[in-house]
Symmetry: C2
Subunit: 632 residues, 2 copies
């Protein structure tokens, strides 16, 4: 096995045959980390985002986190039921794009597709930057390397993902289950203490004092709090989009996976909300020096600052960084679905050596890197762009499901569930868009519009090409007409002899083109009669025309191309075959000793030519060894 | 005229036809700056280099500068006579390379060629760095930008030179004549003052005191002083190498130019030496803070520190920087001469749009930039590498002339002159090499050896290629045998119909190759019988073979290439034509929407193929407009 192949295999695993595909399919145990990591990790920032908005209300505000969280959990339940129904109806993978396209039409599908693509890229960016940001809060000396760390994590994720879905599941299993497990232990232990202390437990380590209240509660504030907490729901659609990655029975495995993910997320959100209220934990200002994350305060209030605290915080850090992985698992599948409808370039349909849609990964990595570089790897700057896309996709998906059930003419309960979900997520989308507009949602809106225009352009191009080249009728064999052969000859050599022999076997109308630049003495015209014309005449063959072209500016290729185009114009219907003799060297450095005129001629003919001009490459391979030359 | 062409013309002048060549030829007035600037400018550092070695002798040492300088002038005279004879004998351009090759054999020629090439690159580097260094002595605040200034000067010189020889002469005329003129005025005025003061003139402005003597005079010291002063002779060979750039009568114009350059240089060297002695000007230590150049001290001793002083010093600065130009004028001619003998790649033979050997300029600029960057643009670090090559070339050239006269069997005086010159320059070469070995001459020696090996390798390659492809016999028309045509078909379309029609006109043995990857449903094999085989059979044509290849790893090209190679192996003598249908798009962005498989197939076939495999490109051009499609 050559070394480059070995390195490839070491980094990305051996290539997989198409027939090995089944082996790559996964069950719920591997599926929860792969498709649920993003959703679960949002428990680390969703409640915090909501509590941050309640800071002006001081400790009074903390009481509101319980109803707000239960509203979010209720919404989560509605979205869960909707996606269960989607998995049932679309076992081939029913992301918002598919559902919206099939039930609401192509335009709605494009809107969903753009919203989702942008949201996946933001998922990857925010996940990485949040993880690195948390790491930097723990180790402040790494601060100057923020962007470098973000990009290093991106490279690591890319390598892991290039190995394929199966390996990815294994790699991500441990941190995901550690994160969920430690948080559940915190919640159970906290609940036990609260019950013991009749609802008023005392923190194991002292908590920071909440600042004095600066505002009164209002419905608008609670609505904003609710929609901010809804960032906890991003990533929920991943399972339904990737149903086909599950092993048989596909639907059942997907539904089990989705149920477990949603249940775990709901328990985490409810537990965090109730314990925050019980312990009186208010968020701290993200910009101020005394900042501490809600999860950190909660964990040390319940468990104290022992080894368990550090294990929990470490798993939070890792899981936040890895939450970007949902985007890696799903973005390529989404782009493939879009490309199947000709709205994206067809390269997104190609599967690489490890059965992945490699181009989807390349594009995701490139755009994520751009976003990280542009925003310096700082989460706070990325957040305002985020979640608009996700909720837009939720709304379109559920609206699509309403149409789906209506068309089937039954299941009014299901229709009601989806309709209610569509209404609530629609309102949430509007609130998120309005409250975040100035801070960055306008960028998302512009990007979505640009993506839609781009996809329409791609589709228009493919439609045009298809109209031009598609063929359903049988072949009409063309008249067999002898082509006109044009052969540029620079000097008489074995190469030109070979090309001329081939030309003689193709046609009786051969034009040998010789360019005179006046640079060096030129004996070709003198040789022509003796070495070429006379022997051919003697053997009864037709004699090619010798065409000499003068080139005052020493360009060699331009006169040849001009001549070919002239011949093509003059002869109405015959094909013009241009023979391009080419010296092929065996070693790279030998290439530098010969001019690349033949390559250039081929490119220029391709660019300036037309359908009746056919380029024939006559390669002349240099022998590898002196012995081989001598033996000839 | 399109914009890029206009920019090109503005920067480099309009393209010149080969027939305009005569107009580019120059006379002595333009020839002195072009070929003499390097030699003349060395008056600014030659005497200084010699006087620097005499510092340990204090004012006693200054007395020795007169005999040393006159020895150098005598040597200059011998070299002058030698090169006059060379111009006479080699009107086509007789540089050391030509003379050594013709009279001493190819190995001596290669040695001369390497020595000269390296010396030209050093001329360019040292000229630029010395000029910038002088500028920095005048304006110390520019010190941190040394390298940047060097590279800027290099770019400027490149632009000026890309316009061609004629324009170059005009641009360099003013500074050269200003430099020579002001120095001559200083010398005449100084001589007048010295005569007036009976040999003991008083300096117009006070000169620094010479430090106390720290050593006694020795023959070894004087020999070193002599050889160090010999750096004043670099660049003398330029005229004889570029004889063909002069207008008719070529030899006479070249000889007049050489005579004037040598005479001016001799006057400058003699005048500087005599005045240094008369005014008692000792060199100052180049490393110390009180450093002042000899020319600066001399000028202000004679003329005072008025406007004339500043004009003189400014012209010294400009001329030092421009002395690099001799390398630009001569290096491309030298590489052309070497390439004509197949020791250098043939690109050095091509003349660009302004009748220059462009590649010589590119390579000179690249290597000069490398040297400048590597040595940080500091002259002191470059100097030890310098002059070895020039004196080696002088020696070989004069030794070659000795053989030339001997073979002619007459002119014993001429033989003696050249023989004496060869002896003296040979000794000088040895002294320079020995005294500079540790400081850097070893690098020059290594580079010369490497260049010789490289040139031998290039020659061996061209010799092998020539043995393989050269042909002096008449054409032997090959048997006309029908080729086997291989046509990869992906799906049935207008493109494949066109390719198949062309295949049918070429041969009756057609293999349509279809690769099945198992990625998508594949209906081609079902269409084959109805759309292709049956209609052809019905019309009495031969029916192509359908070859289906399965590709478990989803590679599409590899099976096709393997099949082609297999067919080629099985059929002993027939040619295998591979038809590559290709979609040609009209806009660059459309290229991203289609895979580049056809390009890749062509490249792989070229790399892995052999002489019996011919690649035929069947282009399908997309129409530019919807209307054009509709009209078909």
């Amino acid at each position: 096995m050559p070394l480059p192949t070995r390195i490839l295999n070491f980094l990305f695993g051996r290539p997989l045959a198409t027939s090995e595909e089944r082996a790559e399919h996964i069950g719920p145990v591997a599926g929860i980390p792969v498709f649920g990591l993003d959703a679960l990790s949002s428990a680390a920032y969703g409640p915090e985002a909501a509590l941050t908005l309640l800071i002006p209300l001081s400790l009074t505000g903390v009481r509101y986190i319980v109803p707000v969280s239960f509203a979010i959990i209720a919404l989560l339940g509605i979205v869960y039921l909707s996606y269960r129904q989607t998995i049932e109806a679309y076992p081939q993978g029913g992301g918002s794009y598919t559902v919206a396209t099939e039930n609401l039409g192509a335009e709605a599908g494009l809107l969903a597709a753009s919203a989702l693509m942008i949201d996946y890229i933001l998922t990857a960016s925010v996940g990485i930057s949040a993880g690195v940001g948390a790491l930097i809060s723990a180790v402040p000396s790494l601060q100057p390397h923020t962007l470098g760390l973000c990009l290093a994590v991106l490279v690591l994720l890319t390598l892991v993902n290039m190995r394929g879905v199966h390996d990815t599941g294994v790699v991500f299993m441990i941190p995901t289950y550690l994160f969920t497990g430690t948080l559940l232990v915190v919640i159970i232990a906290g609940a036990w203490s609260a019950v013991q202390a009749a609802g008023h437990p005392v923190a194991a380590t002292p908590l920071p004092l909440a600042p004095a209240a600066t505002a009164a509660v209002s419905w608008w504030l609670l609505l904003k709090t609710f929609s901010s907490g809804c960032t906890a729901m991003t990533g929920v659609e991943a399972v339904s989009n990737g149903v086909m990655a599950f092993r048989d029975p596909t639907r059942k495995n997907a539904k089990i996976t989705l149920t477990i993910i949603i249940a775990l997320l709901a328990i985490l959100l409810a537990g965090i909300a109730l314990l925050c209220r019980a312990y009186g934990i208010a968020a701290t200002d993200p910009g101020s020096p005394g900042y501490e994350s809600v999860l950190s305060m909660l964990t040390r209030a319940v468990m104290g600052r022992g080894w368990f605290y550090y294990v929990t915080i470490a798993s939070v850090l890792v899981v936040l960084a890895l939450s970007a992985n949902t985007a890696f698992a799903d973005f390529p599948r989404l782009t493939r679905a879009i490309a199947l409808d000709n709205y994206m370039p067809h390269v997104f349909l190609l599967r690489g050596r490890r059965l992945l849609y490699s181009w989807g990964i390349y594009v995701l990595v490139a755009l994520t890197a751009l976003l990280l570089i542009f925003f310096g790897g700082v989460t706070d700057r990325l957040i305002p762009l985020y979640a608009v896309g996700a909720f837009m996709a939720f709304t379109l998906s559920q609206a699509g499901m309403v149409m789906h059930w209506r068309r089937q003419g039954e299941a009014p309960l299901r229709m009601f569930v989806n309709g209610f979900g569509a209404l609530i997520t629609g309102v949430t989308t509007l609130v998120v868009f309005v409250t975040k507009f100035v801070e960055g949602a306008w960028i998302t809106a512009l990007l979505i519009a640009a993506m839609i225009l781009l996809m329409r352009g791609v589709k228009a191009h493919y439609r045009r090409v298809a109209r031009e080249i598609d063929l359903n009728r049988p072949i009409i064999p063309a008249e067999v007409t002898e082509p006109i052969v044009v052969l540029p000859i620079d000097r008489w050599s074995r190469i030109s002899e070979k090309a001329l022999s081939f030309a003689l076997s193709m046609s009786s109308d051969i034009r040998c083109v010789h360019v005179i630049t006046g640079e060096t003495a030129d004996s070709f015209c003198d040789q022509w009669e003796n070495l070429i014309a006379a022997p051919l005449r003697a053997s009864g063959r037709c004699v090619p025309h010798l065409v000499t072209l003068r080139s005052p500016f020493r360009y060699v290729l331009q006169p040849v191309v001009d001549y070919v185009l002239e011949v093509e114009r003059e002869t109405g219907y015959r094909k013009v075959c241009v023979l391009v003799p080419e010296l092929v060297v065996r070693r790279w450095w030998e290439g530098m000793l010969h001019n690349r005129r033949s390559d250039l001629l081929k490119v220029i003919l391709l660019m300036r030519g037309n359908r009746r001009i056919i380029v024939v490459n006559i390669p002349w391979y240099l022998e590898r060894t002196e012995a081989a030359i001598a033996s000839r």
